[in-house]
Amino acid sequence: MFKTGSKLFLGLSGFAAFNLVAYVIFVERLAIGGVALSLVFAALTGLAAIVLLINEGDNERQPRDAALIGASLWPLTTVVGIVLLILGLIVAQIYFILGIVVVLAALAEWLVQAWSESASDDPAHNESARQRLLHPIEFPVIATLGLGVVIFSFSRIMLAISKSAGAVSFIVAASLVLLIGALFALRPALKPALVSGICVIGAVGIVAGGIAGAGIGLRSDLAEAAEEGHYLHRECGVEKSKYFDKKAMKNLSLRSNAAAIVELRDGKLSAIMVGFNTPQQLITASRANPVTFIFRNFDPTERRLVASLGNAMAGAPAAESDGEEADHAGKNETCTQLIPKGAEQALTIKYNKPTIAQTEPFTLTVPGVAGQSIEVLVP
């Protein structure tokens, strides 16, 4: 009647019951804790009843054959993964993701290993069964990781050295690869040790270069461009920065938040908004909540979108933006960069005061395109 399994669950149920009583008496007759402990007790009692009913956990009757089970690295790897996972929750998301990958990979390997070990009585056959199943996955994954490291290292080198040195080193590296490849092809009799030696030296060289490159950092013009707000740079006057990327629209997530897409097409400015079937000349934007406008230029000349931020009666700006607010020609406004035909850029603005508080309406305009203005109404 009482086997190991049922004894375990009966013991646990007793322990839960004891806790429940102690909690209610000594801690608090509070809903959540008491209900939770009652549920734990109920669940354990239920399990004990099932185990009793089906006579599970009768280990004398079904001895386990332990002889075939070899040593395994996977339990350890799984634990390392779990530690990474927990660490990631506290420290940084990247460890969390890494943890998930390690845990899943280790569990998969562990599962297959455990399965293969009980596949037959012949360890050699078992090992080959495992390999047949896992090598087609393991090899491509390892190769991809290796390639990734090489490519990443190479990119660090290219970002650190000057543009022309980059071109030269790329040509040299490519020629070396070609030469050595040709050598291998022409001399099939070369010793395997030599071949792999050459490959390892090449890989180590690139990785070492990559580490050095990462240490040096970005070359100066790239660093400067980043500092100038390479991607989300805003200026209303003459462009001062030299390096910014006019076509970049870094914040992909902004696309899903667009209150409106403002298009300049055939000299006309209009707003496209989800839910409205025709282009609009009026945008209603909610108050005190950042709204994003995406500006698309279809005009052959470089254009920018200018958003007037209004003038609250108290004189303070009525809106905030993600860019530099410019007091440009006496106006309180913010702008996208000048962007060429086909490019797009986002502008995020928070209108804190309603339209009725403005002496002039909030507008979106494009300098040089006369008579086209979109009004932003803030209730």
């Binding site: 009768d58 009757r61 667009a258 909540n289 609250a312 803030v378 209730p379």
Partner: protein, 403 residues
């Protein structure tokens, strides 16, 4: 209705039994405004048409599986019999047990995908309403849409008013944390996420009130963040729109309401906008919720008494009898009753006064000035303003004019 704390009175063994029987009772309630099985519009109907057959099929399969498991447990339990012959696999059985569920799922999948895509359509929209969630109430603003007579933005809270038989598109977002908009009778739920605009189709077949609830845990008063969709006939909706845009009428000089207006200017205007309200010097009173409230917004009270609820639809503005009168009205009579708004005889004066006396006591909110270090001194919710009873008298008189 008063908010009571969960105390030991509610607990003990009785609570378990009670929640069990409640669950049982809830399954056969007739007056359940948030019942997901009672669609009242085409979008919800589409979901219902999917869930009914799936539920039936899944239920039958569930019963069969449970019966098989029970039979196997009982029939083959360990009675000390010898271990039976061990066979490995039975391909025909295994393949059919894989293929049949796969087929069922494939069929369900086809219809599910179709419904998902139909529910995601935005190109057939007839009316757009912006919906913004914040702790712990919903704001609605109606963008200018001349075809509906909306020539200036309308802003409201708590009750979403929409015309029947119209494909309404909500553009949802949030000012603080993630909320979720759900009117079970009209459609599924859709998260309102800060920094994103999500769309949700709504369409109601008949005039009436459809209740809902924020369904993404959003902090202290999540459970009190409710909403109602009010569907009106086209003609009634037009009347509602016209009234929402009507100019502000200041109370007559010398009335209690006029005194209330000046209390409002002193105490309330720093958070609440009443469009058209002027200060004593003739300048427009512009609220600054962005400077006082963490989410940056407080309900616009311009037309407070045209709504039936307040504070995230947690409280009724109408006394119970008047509210029942509106809720239970026949479709044809509903619009007129709803558009009547709230007058003095119907005002739920107790809850409104309690709110003005000490809001955080009746709705849990982070409004203790001593504890606002995380939010730079800004409130989440409405604080206790320490008003005197006579100020409250004046304010109630004033608020009654906002319709």
């Amino acid at each position: 209705m008063k908010v009571r704390r969960l105390t030991s009175r509610y607990l003990g063994p009785r609570s378990l039994a009670a929640s069990g029987s409640l669950l049982l009772l809830a399954s056969c309630a007739t007056n359940a405004p948030q019942d997901t099985w009672q669609p009242k519009g085409p979008n919800a109907k589409m979901i219902d048409d999917l869930q009914q057959p799936v539920f039936a099929v899944a239920g039958i399969i569930g019963i069969i599986v449970a019966a098989c498991v029970g039979f196997a447990i009982w029939r083959y339990k360990d009675r000390g019999q010898p271990i039976p012959e061990q066979t490995h696999g039975k391909p025909a059985l295994e393949v059919s047990l894989t293929v049949i569920p796969a087929l069922i799922l494939a069929v369900v999948g086809v219809f599910t995908f179709r419904a998902i895509f139909d529910l995601a359509r935005t190109d057939d929209t007839q009316l757009v309403i912006n919906v913004t969630g914040q702790q712990w109430w919903w704001e609605y603003d109606y963008p200018v849409q001349n075809e509906w007579g909306i020539t200036q933005p309308i802003i409201s809270s708590g009750q979403l008013v929409l015309p029947i038989g119209t494909k309404v598109l909500l553009r949802e977002t949030s000012r603080d944390v993630i909320h979720s908009y759900w009117i079970p009778a009209l459609n599924g739920k859709r998260d309102a996420v800060p920094g994103r605009v999500h769309t949700l189709r709504l369409q109601a077949d008949a005039p009436g009130i459809y209740a809902g609830q924020c369904t993404e845990f959003c902090g202290l008063s999540h459970a009190n963040m409710r909403m109602e969709a009010v569907a009106l006939s086209d003609a009634d909706f037009a009347k509602w729109v016209a009234n929402q845009q009507a100019a502000y009428q200041a109370p007559a000089e010398g009335t209690l309401a006029k005194e209330g207006e000046s209390v409002f200017l002193n105490q309330c205007v720093r958070c609440h906008q009443v469009s058209g309200l002027k200060r004593a010097d003739g300048s427009l009173a512009i609220a600054a919720p962005d400077e006082n409230v963490w989410s940056g917004a407080a309900p616009n009270l311009t037309k407070l008494m045209t709504r039936n609820t307040f504070a995230g639809a947690m409280f009724n503005l109408l006394r119970d009898a008047c509210r029942d009168d509106v809720w239970r009205a026949e479709s044809a009579a509903f619009g007129e009753k709803y558009l009547g708004g709230v007058d003095e005889s119907c005002l739920n004066v107790n809850d409104l006064r309690a709110w003005l006396r000490n809001a955080p006591e009746v709705k849990p909110m982070y409004a203790n000035p001593a504890l606002l270090t995380d939010t730079n001194g800004k409130y989440r919710g409405m604080p206790n303003l320490g008003l005197s009873e006579s100020d409250i008298d004046k304010l109630v008189a004033y608020l009654l004019t906002l319709k």
